[in-house]
């Protein structure tokens, strides 16, 4: 039996050593095949039941390419600091809707949630980004799509802590790499999956990069994405490669919910188009 994120985190075990009588408690009887294939990893999966959070500019509700959005919140600044409130304004700039549409296209039966941390007056809102990410981790989403990054160094340490906390609590952060000559985060952290673009038109094709910090490449060139007011636009950018990997992660976790982020990353690498038998 696999354990869920909250159980594993809250259990009061002596986590740093393994007494002989505790071995059974950490048994993970995953039936690994002789060879991990795409068919084993996510063949037939629709992402059913997997909870994906889009940490972005909001998501347009009722967009035909996005479908149902189970939860929509926004981080707002009030008199007593930052609060997470229900968001009925949808998407302020279209970016979150585009990302949500890509996840939905790959994993049609996943549960989508939106946490708005970008938008009007949010420029440079590092605190808002951190608050939104913390909320998503506390809510126990299995996947958080972050097609964004911050360049603010004074948020790096807290962002790093949150990324590690997510990793240990079975929340996989999937973050856009930044192919510009600046330092930005969280995509550079080893505890997230970082994603850049490739030029292939196949949404299911991804590559593992043995020379990090960018760990995976997914479709990010010349694709139709959901846009505001129910529209779609032909776009290019790493922002769109990221939700491809988030969607594929949802497919894998729907079929293999017991996988930890470490194992999920391994499965992704083993099934990448350039690795081993698949190459």
């Amino acid at each position: 039996m696999g354990v869920t994120a909250h159980e594993s985190y809250e259990e009061e075990l002596p986590a740093w050593s393994l007494p002989a009588d505790a071995r059974d408690r950490i048994r993970l009887p995953v039936e690994w095949p002789d060879r991990v294939t795409r068919e084993w990893a996510w063949g037939g999966s629709t992402g059913a039941g997997v909870r994906v959070c889009i940490l972005d500019s909001g998501v347009e509700l009722d967009h035909p390419l996005v479908g149902p959005v189970q939860r929509s919140v926004a981080v707002v600044r009030g008199d007593e600091g930052l609060r997470v409130v229900e968001n009925d304004e949808g998407d302020l700039c279209g970016h979150g809707t585009a990302c949500a549409g890509i996840v939905r296209a790959l994993a049609p039966d996943c549960e989508l949630a939106s946490a708005r941390v970008l938008g009007a007056g949010y420029t440079g809102g590092g605190e808002i980004l951190l608050a939104g990410l913390e909320w998503a981790i506390e809510e126990g989403f299995q996947i958080v799509n972050m097609s964004l990054s911050t360049t603010k160094r004074n948020y790096v340490e807290r962002l790093h802590e949150l990324a590690d906390r997510a990793y240990f609590r079975r929340t996989m952060l999937v973050a856009s790499a930044h192919n510009m000559p600046v330092e930005s985060f969280p995509w550079r952290f080893a505890s997230v999956i970082s994603v850049g673009s490739h030029e292939d038109p196949d949404p299911h094709t991804y590559y593992y990069n043995p020379s990090p910090p960018v760990e995976f490449f997914a479709r990010g060139v010349d694709l139709d994405v959901a846009w505001l007011d129910g529209a779609s636009l032909r776009c290019t950018g790493n922002s769109f490669a990221t939700p491809h990997i988030a969607g594929i992660c949802a497919l894998v976790l729907a079929k293999h919910p017991e996988l930890t982020p470490f194992q999920l990353k391994s499965v992704l690498s083993l099934t990448a188009a350039n690795v081993g038998a698949a190459a």
């Binding site: 970008l118 964004l148 990054s149 192919n179 007011d229 636009l233 790493n238 922002s239």
Partner: protein, 210 residues
């Protein structure tokens, strides 16, 4: 006017013109390299929370400088808030954007390449290339090339902003204005008053640290 003021004025005023030329040259080259109809640099105005046209090459070049629009809307706003480059190939499908563009600039592009202008940890603005040559689909090499131009434009924009701040300080508008005035008075003062002022200044320097 003291020698100090004159020197600062010459440097500051000359610098702003130079940096503006550098920024203009960057958008001209970006436009040429991508065989585009237009290229622009928008600067983020924090106080107005607007993106303001700072340099324009091609379509609409003369009348757009200084014009602004809300910093988090449209394609430039999207790029600014996410810090991620974006290429859109059929902007006309977005009626909201098309309408806004038509109203504000009189020119509705079909395609837009946009990239954030980042210096160290700050996002200063956005570089856009409109309607690049239509004979090829966008490639990642083009996006990387745009990133290189963005780096250059960001440096020019940063210098321009510094020049403006220095000028504002010199002309007594900015928050450093009083400092500039004090410096000028110390420079033009003499005798015990000047000595006392210099002592006070070095005490202040020790107080605020290295």
């Amino acid at each position: 006017m003291s020698d100090l003021q004159a020197a600062v004025a010459a440097g500051v005023l000359g610098a702003e013109d130079g940096y503006r030329s550098l920024l203009q040259a960057t958008v001209e080259v970006a436009r040429a390299i991508f065989s585009a109809r237009a290229s622009s640099v928008f600067m983020l105005d924090d106080e107005r929370d607007e993106l303001v046209f700072e340099a324009v090459a091609g379509e609409g070049a003369s009348e757009l400088i200084g014009r602004g629009f809300p910093s988090s809307t449209g394609i430039a706003g999207w790029v600014l808030v996410t810090r991620q480059p974006l290429v859109v190939d059929d902007v006309t499908a977005d009626t909201r954007f098309s309408q806004e563009a038509a109203e504000s600039t009189g020119y509705v592009p079909k395609s837009v390449m946009a990239v954030p202008l980042l210096v160290e940890e700050r996002a200063l603005g956005v570089l856009e290339v409109l309607d690049r040559r239509a004979d090829a689909r966008v490639t990642l090499a083009e996006v990387d090339l745009l990133g290189l131009f963005a780096n250059q434009a960001a440096i020019a924009l940063d210098l321009l902003q510094r020049g403006r701040r220095a000028r504002a300080a010199f002309e007594g508008r900015g928050e450093l204005a009083s400092l500039a005035r004090v410096a000028a008075r110390i420079e033009s003062g003499e005798g015990p008053q000047r000595d006392a002022a210099l002592q006070l200044l070095s005490a202040l320097e020790r107080l605020v640290g290295p």
